[in-house]
Amino acid sequence: MSLLRLCSSGGRQLFCKSPAVEPLFTGCLRAASRAVNDKEPLKKAKTPKGRFDNLEETSKDVLEKFPDDVNPVTKEKGGPRGPEPTRYGDWERKGRCVDF
């Protein structure tokens, strides 16, 4: 038990020092923490896998999804996001005209 704690604390220090060693310790840390039931918050590595776990960091699409995917005005389910594409007489999306 104590060995694992040592390992985890050592890992945390090493995080600040060498990014190359992080992945090794992350694996060790994750495996260790699963055993100790997540007592301290996981420090995710700056690998792509780690980054995608933080959903708040993903950029929001300019066209927002409707709640439940139902357009509140027209009651269309599964329709195009954002303002009505045909409002200018052509089919517009993100400023691009795709049909007219």
Binding site: E76, K77, G78, E92, G95, D99
Partner: protein
């Protein structure tokens, strides 16, 4: 394995070609054996075949010892795997035909995937609707150049086609009750134009074409169509005016394949890439139209090309008219809002063709912007950025990605851009390719066409929005149904000369070792610039004539082409040069047809002949008018033939079909003045 060594010490080239062909024959033979993919050792089986079934294909050197040919036999072969091609291919497989689908792109990469609009059908989910009103709208939209029997067929089949797609799993957007949601789009009206706006356009969020293609591809995998992906179709195998198959180049290993079939369907798409600015993919090179032209058959209505005024310079994406609706203005090199001169009242909100023509005139008169002064600017930075972001969300992203400009600070470079080709291979309403002999339409046996490549003429002189996806599925299915009606699976193939296709292989060989002075890319750019400045929106007699002469000269420069890659495996230089030959055939037909047509109709608008010239003057009552003879009016289809060697275009004309399929059920629409 035959590999005759010819003692020909004349050049090193021959020795390397011999070695290459020996290697090639070995590889070709190994892929031709009928073994399950997993058990093949040494050569991987790239071609998808769902139950591991592979027809025994024979290798021969009937054409040339340098290019051994693999011969395949099928009941039907489909060239092109976009919306129309896939629908035809699996329609045929469903009917029991042994079908091959030859495509230069993987099916889900075809240009159909970029169609984001919707698909029109008179389902009547939003209000009372009738397909006969859709029929009227389409005939009117085509400026009475569309064949009314084909339009009748398409609009009558539309609801069934959309329901069929929905049953295949295409996730259309729904109303609250669960029916398919339809919106107003594309010049659709109720009660023959008198009942207000119709809601007929069904869509899948904002990616209808993408979803359509994937649905069709997924559906096609249920049937055992043999896909030959990344095979570039070179030519049709014609004998005695009958089409007996296709010859294709396998890009992956450079082998030549002959697909013998009783029925050939062409669904290769449009030819946007003849112009400098187009929305189409780089692969839209009109290969099917060129194959048909080389076979001595005509192409129809090639001069009708649909333009959009504001396409981003270089990228080809279109900027919505909403930008101008929200206050955006078009400016020239002097910073002047030039639309005030051309349309004093409507200014930038004038109709699309007026705006396109004004922009082209400004560019022609030297007031264009940029280093080559060949485009104009669309200015939006005078509008408040919050308003822009609220009304047109995503436009700053689009402008940054495609034009590299910050829309709140700089103007967007735009110019009129090609979007769709109404012209193509002439067919009847069943999808059979026709030619016009002695005043009658004659079917070419064994050849069919559908999709943008064909001109069954439902779009006539102008295509309505959301009708082209409908065109794909209806006529793809029509081709399959016609073939199923007239032929049986397993029919004996008619005999074919053993050396069929040798001109194609000779052309291939010549291009592969071409050592002139002009690169493929140079010739292509010349052609594109010439077409953009002479055969675009602004058309007058002198400009078109000049363009025809320039195009003739450019056509001749292909003799002087230079290619660099001498290999045969994945030779993109060779494939681009073949595509260039196809593009040139399409381009010369377009510009010559436009030069000859002395009227303005639909998308073909001429400054010197601003009016439509029909057999009667429909703006006045018909009483007392004399009907003009066929050769003095222009309500007719253009049929263009090209002499492959000289590039000379010959034009003939065929009448428009004015009667619908069933006059009792749906009366034809007599011509009238088209005004919205």
């Amino acid at each position: 394995m035959k590999s005759r060594c010819r003692n020909d010490p004349s050049s090193d080239n021959m020795a390397s070609v011999r070695a290459a062909s020996r290697l090639l024959s070995k590889r070709v033979l190994s892929t031709a054996k009928a073994v399950p993919a997993a058990a093949v050792q040494g050569s991987r089986n790239f071609h998808f075949s769902i139950y591991g079934k592979k027809k025994n294909a024979k290798v021969s050197d009937d054409i040339s010892t340098q290019y051994p040919v693999v011969d395949h036999e099928f009941d039907a072969v489909v060239v092109g795997a976009g919306g129309a091609g896939l629908r035809a291919a699996f329609g045929l497989s469903e009917a029991g035909f042994n079908t091959a689908c030859v495509t230069k792109l993987f099916p889900t990469r075809s240009h159909t995937v970029a169609a984001q609009g919707g698909i029109n059908a008179a389902l009547g989910n939003m209000e009372e609707d009738d397909w006969r009103w859709h029929f009227y709208d389409t005939v009117k939209g085509s400026d009475w150049l569309g064949d009314q029997d084909a339009i009748h067929y398409m609009t009558e089949q539309a609801p069934a086609a959309v329901v069929e797609l929905e049953n295949f799993g295409m996730p259309f957007s729904r109303t609250e009750e669960g029916k398919i949601y339809q919106r107003a789009f594309g010049g659709q009206s109720l009660k023959y134009g008198k009942g207000g706006q119709a809601h007929r356009c069904c869509c899948v969020a904002d990616r209808t074409g993408h979803s359509l293609l994937h649905t069709l591809y997924g559906r096609s995998l249920r049937y055992d169509t043999s896909y030959f992906v990344e095979y570039f179709a070179l030519d049709l195998l014609m004998e005695n005016g009958e089409c007996k198959g296709v010859i294709a180049l396998c890009m992956e290993d450079g082998s030549i394949h002959r697909f013998r079939a009783q029925n050939t369907v062409i669904a290769t798409g449009g030819y946007g890439r003849t112009y400098f600015s187009c929305t189409s993919a780089h692969t839209s090179t009109g290969d099917g139209n060129a194959m048909v032209t080389r076979a001595g058959l005509p192409c129809q209505d090639m001069e009708f090309v649909q333009f959009h005024p504001t396409g981003i310079y270089g990228a080809g994406c279109l900027i919505t008219e909403g930008c101008r609706g929200e206050g955006g203005i078009l400016i020239n090199s002097e910073g002047e809002r030039f639309m005030e001169r051309y349309a004093p009242n409507a200014k930038d909100l004038a109709s699309r063709d007026v705006v396109s023509r004004s922009m082209t005139i400004e560019i022609r008169e030297g007031r264009g912007v940029g280093p080559e002064k060949d485009h104009v600017y669309l200015q939006l930075h005078h509008l408040p950025p919050q308003q822009l972001a609220a009304r047109l969300p995503g436009i700053s992203e689009t402008a940054m990605i495609f034009a590299g400009v910050d829309v709140t600070k700089e103007p967007i470079p735009v110019l009129p851009t090609v979007h769709y080709n109404m012209g193509g291979i002439p067919t009847n309403y069943k999808g059979q390719v026709i030619t016009h002999v002695s005043g009658e339409d004659k079917v070419v046996p064994g050849l069919y066409a559908c999709g943008e490549a064909a001109s069954a003429s439902v779009h006539g002189a102008n295509r309505l929005g959301a009708n082209s996806l409908l065109d794909l599925v209806v006529f793809g299915r029509a081709c399959a149904l016609t073939i199923a009606e007239e032929h049986k699976p397993g029919e004996k193939l008619s005999p074919l000369k053993p050396s069929a296709g040798e001109e194609s292989v000779a052309n291939l060989d010549r291009l592969r070792f071409a050592n002139g002075s002009q690169r493929t890319s140079e010739i292509r750019l010349n052609m594109q610039k010439t077409m953009q400045s002479h055969a675009a929106v602004f058309r007058t007699g002198s400009v078109l004539k000049e363009g025809c002469d320039k195009m003739d000269a450019i056509y001749q420069t292909v003799e002087d082409i230079k290619t660099f890659d001498r290999g045969i495996v994945w030779n993109t230089d060779l494939v681009e040069s073949l595509e260039l030959q196809n593009l040139l055939l399409n381009a010369v037909q377009t510009i010559n047809s436009a030069e000859q047509r002395k009227e303005s109709r639909g998308a073909h608008a001429r400054e010197d002949y601003k009016d439509r010239v029909d057999e009667y003057d429909y703006s006045k009552p018909l009483q007392g008018q004399e009907k003009k003879p066929f050769d003095q009016h222009w309500r007719k289809h253009t049929l263009s033939f090209v002499d492959q060697k000289t590039g000379k275009v010959t034009l003939e004309y065929r009448p428009v079909i004015d009667s619908s399929l069933d006059e009792q059920d749906c009366a034809h629409v007599p011509p009238a003045i088209r005004s919205y």
